[in-house]
Subunit: 541 residues, 2 copies
């Protein structure tokens, strides 16, 4: 094989990241997202796949066409659209997180399975509509650690049986819609309490425990013919004391290929994550991943560096060329399967409106509710006096796809004045552990408390340090808790809900999007209207 | 004329509003923005123009093609892109507000004129690239009332001479790029202290005063062949004691057409604004505007209702059919001119990267600066202790096109902990007028104070009620004012700047966008890097 052919072969095993926007200036994370010039050059070198993030669905559909044109050949085009394409690409359907169906499964497994299948189908159909052929899901992790900062509500459940069943239904939906799937994060990322975006987590479990808890959803997915498996940046001391799964031969080749018999594509999680890049240089990480048995390298810190390092490893005999040829053949197989799936599933013509009905269905089926209806705050001398205390993960990011959040506008119409908290707000805390909310600063009147909390990468742990349990007790003691709504984390809801007096109106929605807000507040009696600025002032931005 | 032909003629005189997004679900203001079904129907009825807002530049370029296809004929396609196309459509160039050049004009008129011309050219070129043929600018209002909540930094200056000169240079730029312009808001909206989006302002000035202050920029624009003039929703008691300019025959026909001899298109400001819709029904407002002498009706509250009401007024003889024919002919003339301008100016092929160099040039030329460099906060026992107190107009809206604002990320890297304020935050105020900031709640250490304030419609007046002058004095007295940056309003800067001790590092930038933040902080010595998340954690959203 010529040096050029070898480099082209190696390049085909890389999946690089780009923004879904057409222009360099629109990139949200320019340090992670290649410029158009870099991207074009890498695709001409033969890079085999692209992972996209950001941009509207309409823009991404232009973007994927552009990438194919630059590549002059088929590409694996993928995205982390675990919660519907609208989670990443505005204008498509945004669904409540998978764990909501895990909770529903306990009450009504048949309905949960049917909805998980529709969840996958909707996601697959819209992924295709914007030009993707590979959805990086289902998450097969069993979230048995409520403090998990990185998986959490992204998991389909808390037990192997529930995760296996729902992840499988989701995968069937994907496949019926005509796209490839990917089971992740092998061999299981559900029992970690550190975020692998930031640190390298350790799983000290025995093989028996792995086989009982972590592996079943992967075994089920493999049995059902899942197209790809993504490795976790997690150290499994029982199998490999040193290297994380992503770089571990005992895990990827021993356990995944040999023991579980997986023959599809093995792809790493993003190599730029701190769990890897904080320990191993970029080129070396790519070489180690292939050595361990990965076929594709996702988001290498430096694609050119990775190609050079892998080429050197082949030349030195550290990596067998034959192995790379086999990986390329698996990639080819996956592309052929994607084409066959597309041909055998209903044609997707163009971008269409999001499936608001499915989102509503999921939100309704998984909404939890207690107590009475919220009564309007009594009008005092200075007009109505309710306080709508809203805690957001970050006021500069999702779920604020719209300038007017129903969580603010709907209560405002009934006399609840918004007070917005986020981790960088002036402190609402008094310092008194028994009465942590500084009520003197909030003003008088009943409090409608709305908490947006989910175990998000990068921000998951902050809410745990905020004394919301004590605040709920304090407000109730003062007779000032008007109502409580939790959006996102079931774990926070499970902590707060038992503290509530039974008449207090309260709701839990797994979703955080405007549609979820309108529905949860509607359930409390705050007239749900069309989301996004209905009845607001302001008709410009 | 058949009834159908009459209705088609009438429809051609309406300009309706739609979102720049392709999907209904993406609309930010669904109560103001037509659905695709409504839009398609109205365009088939012959509606003559569309004003667009929202969506990325790439998406709008698809949107405008879609509108032309639905209309099956030429359309006036316009937008309020007074501060560059990027002000409304993400991915295009976002420039600092016009008033920044008005200030520069005082120091360097030649440079200001050259930049205003480039400002117009950049805006026109990008408007064309996304399919628009009509820019609703220049603002010809003379902002001689610093408390003006609706014009303010949108004006080119505070005196008739400066506004005339810069607005003209901007118009020349537009024309050279190949798009139509529109002088607004006739006969002058600069001396109002109420927002016509919310109330009807009254201008009690004599005709002599109007001729001395308000009219010269319009006279200059008309003399230079401006294509259109937009009416103001302002009552000019000297000319018409009852009706706002938009509905006033003495103003539109008497003053504008006859006295000033304007022969181009007269278009109303949006009829849905409270100043009109709070007083007159939707259909009647449209009839009155045409009766007064307008050619085009912008954003009627209900387009079908407006067509019916106008048709009835023609049938009853209240409106002469001949007048509508003349208005339609002016619209036709404008479309022909737009085509001619396009043919005679350089071709615009495709969407390109924003003109960051022009934006940087404008920001640099208009940045104001005093004092020394900001030193890093002293590290205390708990690490560094500086407080970066940032006051935003709204944390859920612009200028946050990016999840990571340089105003937060750049100082954080040097040890300044962000505290984010907006009107709905927990109060940072103590209630003590002499020491209004509740410093005990903020914590110890020096304060880097960054204030985002501009006289925005809907939010302009809130900042005036916040005691920032007293807070600056209080922080200085305590030896805790590390630095001050004002983004947006020169009036706030002019109020605070004289209070500063001369060594305090301080800067004023007219722009509020990430580029402006990075530049202003760079001028204070906080290493400016590429905007948007540079060096941040978090590579997903």
């Amino acid at each position: 094989m010529s040096e050029q052919a070898l480099r082209r072969l190696i390049a085909s095993l890389l999946v690089v990241r780009c923004s879904g926007h057409l222009l360099d200036a629109q990139r949200r994370y320019p340090q992670w997202e290649l410029s158009n010039a870099e991207l074009q050059q890498l695709l001409q070198l033969g890079v085999g796949g692209v992972i996209l993030l950001g941009g509207s669905a309409a823009e991404v559909s232009l973007r994927t066409r552009q990438l194919l044109q630059w590549a002059q050949g088929p590409l694996l085009l993928c995205a982390d659209v675990e919660e519907g394409v609208g989670q990443r690409f505005e204008g498509a359907t945004w669904l409540p997180p998978p764990l909501s169906l895990g909770r529903l499964y306990g009450r009504d497994p048949g309905r949960a399975l049917e909805l998980a299948q529709r969840y996958g189908h909707c996601t697959g159909r819209e992924a295709r509509a914007i030009g993707l052929n590979w959805v990086l899901g289902p998450v097969c992790d069993v979230n048995n650690n409520p403090a998990n900062p990185v998986i959490n509500v992204r998991a389909w459940g808390e037990t192997p049986a529930v995760v296996s069943a729902l992840a499988l239904a989701f995968s069937q939906g994907l496949q019926a819609a005509g796209v490839l799937g990917c089971a992740k994060h092998f061999p299981g990322h559900g029992d970690t309490s550190v975020d692998s975006h930031l640190e390298l987590p350790l799983l000290p479990h025995s093989l028996e425990r792995l086989e009982a808890v972590e592996l079943p959803p992967f075994t089920a997915a493999i049995g059902a013919g899942i197209d790809a498996v993504m490795s976790a940046h997690v150290v499994l001391s029982a199998l490999d004391q040193e290297r994380p799964a992503t770089l571990s031969r005992p895990v990827l080749s021993g356990l995944l290929r040999e023991q579980l018999g997986f023959e599809g594509l093995v792809v790493t999680d993003a190599l730029v994550m701190e769990a890897i890049s904080g320990h191993v240089g970029g080129g070396e990480a790519a070489v180690m991943a292939l050595e361990a048995g990965a076929d594709l390298v996702l988001m290498p810190a430096d694609a050119h560096g990775a190609i050079a390092a892998i080429a050197k490893a082949v030349e030195s005999g550290r990596l067998a060329q034959q192995q790379l040829v086999a990986s390329a053949a698996r990639r080819q197989q996956a592309l052929l399967k994607a084409a066959a799936l597309q041909a055998s599933s209903p044609a997707v013509v163009a971008l269409s409106e999001p499936d608001g009905a499915l989102a509503a269905h999921l939100l309704e089926a998984t909404l939890e509710r207690q107590g009475g209806s919220l009564s309007a705050p009594a009008a005092g001398q200075l007009g109505s006096q309710g306080i709508n205390l809203v805690r957001l993960e970050s006021c500069l990011q999702a779920p604020q796809a719209v300038p007017q959040l129903p969580a603010l506008t709907l209560p405002e119409r009934s006399g609840w004045r918004p007070v917005l908290l986020e981790p960088r707000s002036p402190s609402p805390w008094s310092g008194d552990p028994e009465a942590p909310l500084a009520l003197d600063r909030l003003g008088n009147g009943p409090v409608l408390l709305q908490l947006f909390v989910r175990g998000n990468p990068f921000s998951g742990s902050k809410a745990n340090r905020e004394p919301w349990s004590e605040a709920v007790v304090q407000l109730q003691r003062a007779g000032r808790l008007g109502a409580l709504v939790v959006y996102g984390s079931p774990y926070l809801w499970e902590r707060l809900q038992p503290l509530l007096e039974p008449q207090i109106p309260a709701a839990y929605s797994a979703g955080q999007m405007p549609q979820a807000q309108a529905m949860a507040l509607g359930a409390l009696g705050l007239g749900a209207e069309r989301h996004a600025g209905a009845g607001s002032s302001g008709f410009t931005d």
